[in-house]
């Protein structure tokens, strides 16, 4: 489709879009051959659909404790209670579906923050030489080494409680890996002749960064994004588990926190511990599989292996 528009109007812009369309199609062809990547993608699609349809599948009143006074507490999984119930008689499957919304939202939002910082700092560190680049590199290395969980804990405790604090805390502490990859790619692109040509023709920093560097690093950023969403979801659950989350919201981490509060692990309420954890593992694994498949395609050094 994009190919036909390019033949009609041959402006550089439409040609560029046609080229991007073809590249995307080629990318999809290659991705669809990766079995692990496709399994992950389909699984994530189902989970996202369930999360979006939460109000339809499980109306919000099902979480209202005042309406569940005669529902059994700690009922093990059965036909009547597919995933069992919790300490307040709520169905675990209802909490899981609602929890998916918060866990995924935090995962995606924190990743967006992390990717924006990582890309900007990474390109700047690779593009600007001398003093600025050196300083940025030092900062990247510093954040790479620093224990990100501890820093996220510190941030979420000194800022006001809430989902967005968690998002900022995770985003601000997880960008360094991306910045490093982006910087390496920027350096390798910078040494190519077409950048030199562009510079000789009078292109400024902004032009080179937006027109040449950004398109060259974006595929790597995409691969990193899918991998980072997984670790952001783990980070969210860890912070919630430590009691730093928003207690009024359902997330997979806060469900595990509740299970710890009633000592579910030692009291024999195994489903209360098992269900949220398995959900986290499966979703993170799915993101990892998709991310690795994308990485194999966009990173030429990993190809043909």
């Amino acid at each position: 489709m994009s190919g036909s528009t390019a033949t009609l109007a041959r402006s550089p812009r439409s040609m560029a879009w046609a080229r991007r369309g073809r590249a995307l199609a080629a990318f999809w062809r290659e991705f669809s051959h990766s079995r692990a990547g496709m399994v992950g993608l389909v699984f994530l699609g189902v989970i996202i659909l369930l999360a979006l349809l939460a109000p339809v599948i499980a109306p919000a009143w099902m979480l209202d404790v005042t309406k569940l006074l005669d529902s059994p507490r700690f009922a093990p999984p059965s036909l009547e209670h597919p995933l069992g119930t919790d300490d307040q008689g709520r169905e675990l499957w209802v909490r899981m579906i609602w929890g998916a919304r918060v866990s995924l939202l935090v995962g995606f939002a924190a990743t967006a923050v992390s990717m924006i910082i990582g890309t900007v700092v990474g390109i700047a560190a690779g593009h600007f030489t001398g003093w600025t680049g050196g300083l940025l590199m030092r900062i990247i290395d510093f954040f790479l080494v620093l224990p990100s969980l501890i820093l996220a804990i510190v941030l979420s405790i000194v800022l006001s409680r809430g989902v967005w604090t968690i998002v900022i805390a995770i985003g601000l502490t997880s960008w360094a890996g991306t910045a490093r990859v982006v910087r390496a790619q920027t350096l390798s692109v910078e040494s190519r002749d077409y950048i030199e040509r562009s510079r000789v023709l009078g292109a400024g920093h902004w032009h080179i960064i937006v027109k040449h560097l950004l398109p060259a690093v974006l595929p790597l950023v995409l691969a990193n994004t899918t991998l980072t969403v997984g670790s952001a979801i783990i980070a969210e659950s860890t912070l919630s588990f430590l009691g730093l989350g928003d207690a009024t919201l359902q997330s997979w981490g806060s469900i595990l926190k509740n299970s710890m509060d009633v000592s579910a692990a030692t009291a024999g309420y195994w489903w209360y511990v098992l269900v949220p954890g398995v959900a986290i593992v499966l979703v993170v694994l799915a993101f990892t599989l998709v991310g690795r498949a994308v990485e194999t395609i966009v990173n030429p050094t990993l190809r043909s292996r």
Partner: protein, 346 residues
């Protein structure tokens, strides 16, 4: 202070490293690395001031909102906490406190933060150190086996297991192990570091601590070793296609010799830096693992500080954790130099 410490340390390190040659590249290398570590430490301290003194806002104003106070009381409290001074003076006080390891008094424990950290420090080192050694050994060994024959059944199994374990939240695995081996099977104690009535003899005491360590160590190893597997696997795979290995193979060397004597030592080099880089992940694991198994270490202290919230205690553990990581990375740089003659020659 920073101008006097590095040279002496550098000289010691240099004398240990290359006894005979007093070459300037070695000194320069040591100075750069130690200087870098000191800059990182300075950044941690700066970050600490920003996070604990500026971001939280005025603690007195917050307290006054909760319990009504007279203006005199407010002024007195501000003076007591040093908040009436200008910002640069507060920063000066903060610096003096950090360098004299005076992190103030913990609200929760009613005890000085420095002495608390001193009490718990070695417990964390024991736990994370043991886990690190096991995880690194296991990860590197599995990684080189898997990377030597990519696509084999062993490789697929190792990579698969690593990916799954990598996706597991540390604290959940800890809860799971606690549930199965502590709660249901009663094989291991469910928490703490020593039994309520520890045995009298030394051997019994050691075995008692070890039995308390088993579950936390398994958790930390399981979550961390996967990264080492992946790094080592990729590194061996890259070495495999190197020219010198083709030559060695053409000479008729045995496959096992090829791997253990030629490929692995070279593949280890790029791995060293990454191995130490992941120590941060291990430290993060310590917070949740120590919380779940109530191991009396810095991670447990951090958890207590969150529940308070106990900002002086949190600040103390934050600075100490960061310092541990900066120190291990400095060690990594020197180990790397010992291992790789190319870096040594500069």
């Amino acid at each position: 202070m920073s101008t006097t410490v590095p040279p002496t340390e550098a000289v010691i390190l240099e004398e240990q490293g290359e006894a005979s040659v007093r070459s300037s590249p070695a000194l320069k290398y040591a100075l750069t690395k130690i200087g870098g570590a000191l800059i990182s430490l300075a950044m941690v301290i700066l970050l600490g001031f920003f996070a604990f003194k500026i971001l939280p806002g005025d603690p007195v104003a917050k307290a006054a909102r909760e319990h009504p106070m007279s203006p005199e009381q407010i002024a007195q409290l501000r003076a007591q906490l040093g908040l009436d001074k200008p910002l640069w003076q507060q920063f000066g006080d903060y610096l003096v406190n950090v360098f004299t390891l005076n992190f103030g008094e913990s609200y929760v424990y009613k005890q000085s933060v420095a002495s608390l950290i001193g009490d718990y420090f070695w417990n964390t080192i024991l736990l994370t150190g043991t886990s690190a050694v096991i995880a690194i050994t296991l990860g590197l060994w599995l990684g080189q086996k898997a990377g030597w024959r990519p696509g084999s059944r062993f490789d697929r199994m190792t990579t698969g297991t690593s990916l799954v374990l990598w996706s597991v939240p540390t604290f959940w695995l800890a809860l799971l192990l606690l549930m199965v081996f502590g709660g249901t099977l009663h094989w291991f104690p469910t928490g703490g570091m020593v039994s309520p009535n520890p045995p009298d003899d030394t051997l019994g005491k050691i075995l008692d601590v070890i039995s308390h360590m088993v579950l936390p160590v398994i958790t930390m190893v399981a979550v961390v070793y996967a990264q080492y597997v992946m790094v080592m696997r990729a590194s061996v795979m890259e070495e495999k296609s190197a020219d010198y290995l083709i030559t060695a193979r053409a000479k008729g060397l045995k496959d096992d010799d090829l791997r253990t004597r030629h490929a692995v030592p070279n593949a280890l080099l790029p791995t060293v830096t990454l191995v130490f880089l992941h120590i941060g992940g291990l430290i993060a694991g310590a917070v949740t693992v120590e919380t779940v198994f109530s191991w009396p270490g810095l991670g447990k202290l951090t958890y207590q500080a969150i529940q308070g919230p106990d900002l002086p205690l949190l600040q103390g553990t934050f600075v100490v954790f960061s310092a541990i990581i900066i120190f291990t990375n400095l060690v990594a740089d020197f180990v790397y130099r010992r291992l790789d003659p190319r870096v040594r020659r500069g």
